[in-house]
């Protein structure tokens, strides 16, 4: 790929970096995603996925580097970025004392959508997400998965071009997970949306995504189509490839702590300390 062209690249990051004090949450991230594609950022907990999407949505500002989202710069054109992006946060941020309908109306107003449009979209979204019977209950009584569904509606209500989903299926039951997965593939196929998913669930990534990036401790380890990643490390499937790339400990090591005697453990610690030096 040569020059950056605004026409066909939805998201491109340039040396995107974020520090929280001493912690380097995201380190020099460079990715490019075309319009209409689905991209998955895979990684263990604390890898920096949430931090990345928050930066791409102009919610927090990067320590260094920048990114173009939909052709807009996330630092200097943050308002435009926010207008064209939808964002499903990792844990639902909701007003507990509102009903789903009222909350979605509120979100619509935050994006300055016309009133009639808000109302018709709410009806449609509530129907898709099977929340129809509960639309007048206060959100405080909802389960986590139901709250997540409401947040998904909120992410979609402004009909964004680019959609960021942070752990979209982590709290959902199998049926709802299926529904969300179908929705994602429909959105890319029929509505030509660009979708950016953060997840630690390998099957979600493998099934839905055109391209996958694996991130660990803030650094992007590999990137490419699922097939390419599997082949590159001679693995059988994505899970195997992921474990190989992350260098996860062998099964025998996992239970070693039970046999270890206190003296031995001390010795091991010493050895480790020496190795570091």
């Amino acid at each position: 790929m040569g020059e950056l062209t605004i026409d066909n690249i939805a998201i491109s990051t340039k040396g995107l970096t974020k520090h929280f004090g001493k912690i380097i949450a995201v380190n020099n991230l460079n990715i490019e995603i075309d319009y209409g594609k689905t991209y998955a950022l895979l990684g263990p907990n604390g890898a920096g996925k949430t931090t990345t999407v928050r930066m791409l949505n102009s919610i927090i500002s990067p320590t260094s580097g920048t990114a173009l989202v939909g052709g807009y710069d996330i630092i200097s054109q943050s308002i435009e970025v926010k207008k064209i992006c939808g964002f499903l946060p990792e844990s639902p941020g909701l007003y507990q004392k509102l009903t789903p309908r009222e909350f979605l109306e509120f979100i619509g107003e935050l994006y300055s959508l016309p009133k009639e449009l808000i109302i018709t979209r709410i009806d449609e979204l509530l129907e898709i997400f099977d929340l129809e019977g509960r639309e007048n209950d206060l959100l405080e009584g909802f389960s986590r998965g139901m709250k997540q569904k409401v947040c998904l509606c909120a992410a979609l209500i402004q009909d964004p071009k680019i959609i960021f989903l942070d752990e979209p299926t982590s709290n959902l039951d199998p049926a709802a997970t299926r529904m969300v997965k179908d929705l994602i593939s429909e959105l890319t196929r029929k509505a030509d949306k660009t979708i950016f998913i953060c997840t630690h669930l390998l099957d979600t990534a493998e099934e839905l995504c055109d391209r996958i990036g694996i991130i660990d401790k803030g650094t992007l380890k590999v990137e490419g189509t699922p097939r390419k990643i599997i082949d590159s490390v001679n693995a059988q499937d994505l899970e195997d490839a992921y474990l190989k790339i992350m260098g996860v400990t062998k099964i025998e090591d996992l239970l070693a702590w039970r046999e270890e005697l206190p003296e031995k453990a001390k010795e091991k610690k010493k050895r480790k300390g020496r190795k570091k030096k």
């Binding site: 927090i60 946060p89 909701l94 009222e102 206060l138 009584g141």
Partner: protein
């Protein structure tokens, strides 16, 4: 290791988590500073100004010092009871408790352990407070070593007992909260009742000082208040006559001060299961809202389209929380109560002169403003931190949260203001101009006061699950309000003395300083608060 010891250790660790790498150093530094204060600075300072006090109150300096000691202990007792209450806002604490409960530790161990874990922190209170008491007394009579020991023992008992009561209260509330949402409201209201009691004591002391001095028997109504048992012992050691007017003589005081705390400690240790058994199922209420209330439709009509939905959202979230209705009731009730009390205490009601009316007007507005800031402004973020991201993600950014909240408060204050104005107009027989003046003054000052609270919250936000310390913000707000009121009273009387204005202008001379001082605090707080909030991560 006994279970309670492990729990005590964890408790201390959790309390000092922000200094986790230098815990030992932290306590060393704090205790060293406090010892220097106790044995060097405090005696020096009090030796400096006590002789003045002695000449200022010739003859009865003992009773003045006596009142001061009683008053300090009363305030402190409430403050220490309130100290553990900040936990009530944190949801995560309940999760932690669940884990401890899953272990074989018994409820008594848990309670005792958590309490002991806090003692090093309460030691700070003791070392800070006792020198003040001895410093007040020492310049008048030279304390001997026995008297020193008794005073330190009393202060220690007082602080630890208050801490014990606070811990019991909090554990009980957390227990209730775990079982019902309604109790959560109760806890929040309770915290405010205590804060208000504190302010009430402060006011009572400042304004009723002479009255109490000439009618010492009214203190007998407070004999049940534990800090008096301890202060009685201290007063008796310095001058037995000081407590001669009480129902409680020295023996009863000692008995209560020793017997009650130990009995309570024993009972709670034995009965801890009554407030530590966490029910697994947190009761979930399901409320259905079919149709929008008339009130909201009315508000929709009077607000501009651009803000309508946001303000309605804030209003719904606010009014559907039951504790908020309580807060408004308290605000109105306390403001009315205070206005009436001042009018009667000042003597001449209903034949008040313009200066009295202006003074009482200012005091009422000041109280209303402070309550609004404590009750409304302080709660801007008590919700999930995730909501901050919702606002930050939207193109309208986080500032619309602040401004829609402020607009909601304008609406609430407007309606409450009408009610208060009608009452005070009738009570003080305001003419129409005075009534309008009062209404505007009330609204403007309340907004200024609320802005202070919001600014402080932006700087040190308190979210449901984590974040700043609500207790600290309340403390700072009370201090700001005290500074404002005393500054304004001083300035008001100065202006009055120097300019001798016509009667119609007296109220301006009292209200203007309040607004000026309030704004002086509000603008920087709001300015830096918004800046800080923009950078929240």
């Amino acid at each position: 290791m006994a279970a309670w010891k492990a729990i005590a250790k964890t408790e201390l660790r959790r309390k000092t988590s922000s200094f986790r790498n230098h815990r030992f150093l932290l306590f060393l530094v704090i205790y060293t500073i406090l010892c220097v204060w106790a044995f060097l600075f405090a005696p020096l300072i009090f030796d400096l100004f006590m002789p003045n006090l002695v000449t200022y109150f010739p003859g009865n300096v003992f009773s003045v010092v006596g009142y001061l000691i009683e008053f300090i202990l009363m305030m402190l007792f409430l403050m220490i009871i309130m100290y553990p209450m900040q936990n009530i806002y944190r949801k995560t604490e309940v999760g932690y408790k669940e884990m401890v409960l899953a272990s074989p530790a018994r409820p008594g161990d848990i309670f005792f352990g958590e309490f002991i874990g806090k003692v090093p922190i309460y030691l700070i209170f003791i070392l800070a407070l006792a020198p003040v008491i001895t410093g007040l007394i020492n310049p008048i009579i030279n304390l001997n070593i026995i008297q020193y020991i008794i005073i330190y023992l009393c202060v220690t008992g007082h602080v630890i007992f208050a801490a014990l009561l606070g811990s019991i209260l909090v554990s009980w509330l957390e227990h209730k909260i775990a079982r019902s949402e309604k109790a959560r409201d109760l806890g929040k209201v309770l915290l405010f009742l205590l804060a208000i009691a504190m302010v009430a004591i402060l006011y009572t002391f400042t304004y009723l000082f002479n009255y109490i001095k000439s009618n010492p028997h009214i203190k007998n109504y407070l004999s049940f208040y534990p800090s008096l048992w301890f202060s009685n012992i201290i007063l008796y050691t310095i001058q037995p006559v000081l407590i001669s007017s009480y129902i409680l003589n020295i023996w009863v005081s000692i008995f209560l001060a020793v017997f009650i705390p130990f009995t309570i400690l024993y009972i709670t240790f034995k009965k801890a299961y009554a407030f530590f058994s966490l029910e697994t199922s947190i009761e979930k209420t399901s409320t259905i809202i079919e149709k929008e209330n008339k009130f909201y439709r009315f508000i929709r009509k009077i607000t501009r389209i651009k803000w309508e939905g946001l303000i309605i959202t804030q209003l719904k979230e606010f009014f559907r929380k039951r504790e908020n209705i309580m807060k408004i009731v308290y605000t109105i009730g306390l403001t009315l109560f205070e206005g009436v009390i001042f009018a009667f205490l000042g003597g001449d009601y209903p034949n008040l002169d313009t200066q009295d009316i202006s003074l009482y007007m200012m005091m009422s507005v000041m109280i209303a403003g402070m309550l609004f800031s404590l009750f409304l402004g302080n709660f801007i973020f008590v919700g999930s931190k995730e909501l901050i991201w919702v606002y930050k993600k939207s193109p309208r950014n986080i500032k619309v949260l602040i401004f829609s909240y402020l607009r909601m408060i304008v609406i609430i204050i407007f309606f409450i203001g009408i009610g208060l104005t009608i009452f005070f107009s009738l009570f003080f027989q305001y003419d129409i101009f005075t009534a309008i003046f009062f209404f505007l003054f009330l609204i403007i000052y309340s907004l200024i006061s609320v802005s202070q609270a919001i600014g402080l919250q932006c700087i040190n936000p308190a979210f449901e699950e984590k974040g700043g310390d609500m207790q600290l913000t309340i403390g700072i707000l009370v201090i700001i309000n005290m500074a404002t009121i005393f500054g304004s009273l001083f300035l008001g009387f100065q202006l009055l003395g120097n300019f001798n204005p016509p009667p119609e202008l007296i109220k301006v001379f009292f209200s203007l300083p309040l607004i000026i001082f309030g704004t002086l605090f509000a603008i920087p707080l709001l300015f830096f608060g918004l800046k800080k909030l923009n950078k929240i991560e």
